[in-house]
Subunit: 197 residues, 2 copies
Amino acid sequence: MTSQEPLSQKASEILGSAQSLMQDKGYNGFSFRDVAAQVGIKSASIHYHFPTKGDLAKAAVGSYREAFSKLLEDISAQNITPRSQLQKYGDIFMDTLTVKHNACLCGILASEAESLPEDVRHQVDGFFDDQRAWLSAVVEAGIKDGTFRSVIATQQYAITFLSALEGAMIIARSTQKPEILNQTTDQMIGLIDDTAD
Amino acid sequence: MTSQEPLSQKASEILGSAQSLMQDKGYNGFSFRDVAAQVGIKSASIHYHFPTKGDLAKAAVGSYREAFSKLLEDISAQNITPRSQLQKYGDIFMDTLTVKHNACLCGILASEAESLPEDVRHQVDGFFDDQRAWLSAVVEAGIKDGTFRSVIATQQYAITFLSALEGAMIIARSTQKPEILNQTTDQMIGLIDDTAD
DNA sequence: GTCTATATCTTGATAGAC
DNA sequence: GTCTATCAAGATATAGAC
């Protein structure tokens, strides 16, 4: 969950490059040479920082999880309604899709689960659990304050909401219709909103 | 949308093998040699039936779309409620996941969109449109007969429902919790059900 | 820490015999 | 239609010089 030793400058660059390459083309779709070209070193040099491709991917997901968790903390720290928090959560996904032109790293990697080294997949699964935990707390708060329908199963809704966003992101990117993502987010929120006009 | 000439026996075998391999490991994760080993020929022989990997993938998606459309026709032909139709739709996904231990071919391929030949990606996008069209008609019928909440945006709900199932399938498979998929389907239906007890 | 050089393997694809 | 043989390219990874 937490970082070990602080990474060197180059190691961070390599990690960032690998992360963004995987968000674009997946684990099977990027190579050490791709990373090397982006960072400006030779592919053999990467092995000094990350011995194997699995090590690199695992570290990239770990750093992704940390960065994502910080974004969630930022949202939690704001004094806004649960509904607004879900909206801001969706904005993270939308920003990744439209500004960085990337998919969710763990959405991509999970779809390649059968090709991943075991410890990489476990990191990916850890990401999903991070999201489930944060989302279910927000939904719970929304039910308590009366803005969300009280009949919904909180834990399951967290997973359903996450699934919808991950799926919509993949479909939106493939079909090149980014609006699919934010419209899906809006509808998912609308479906549990008990304060509809 | 329709098949051209009928495929030879071996071509069908190759197609089926490629389809199931891609449902397991994706476009970047399967090779001609994998297919050859399954079918019992040499990898060079595949090129006789499908000149390039892109041709093979495109044909596999086309055949997948056809088979899926037949399943949808079967559901439509039954005299069951819109709610039951959505449930049966979810059963298709669940069956793929738990019996064949596979993901949705187009969910996997869409997540690799940036690695796909252009015409393969267009076939994948066509699949999503097939699903959107069928699902929206079912939802429309459910609104008309009063079982689904009338406030929902029909076209968008079709996409949201599909997104949720695709996302849940990927997450369920990676985390090895297949129940995530059917619970997500159930909740998605429950969220628009207007006849709740 | 990064390099060159290299080993080893796998890939998609082609040529030509049968 | 399928084979053998082969290719050129790309992959991960290692050894050892600098």
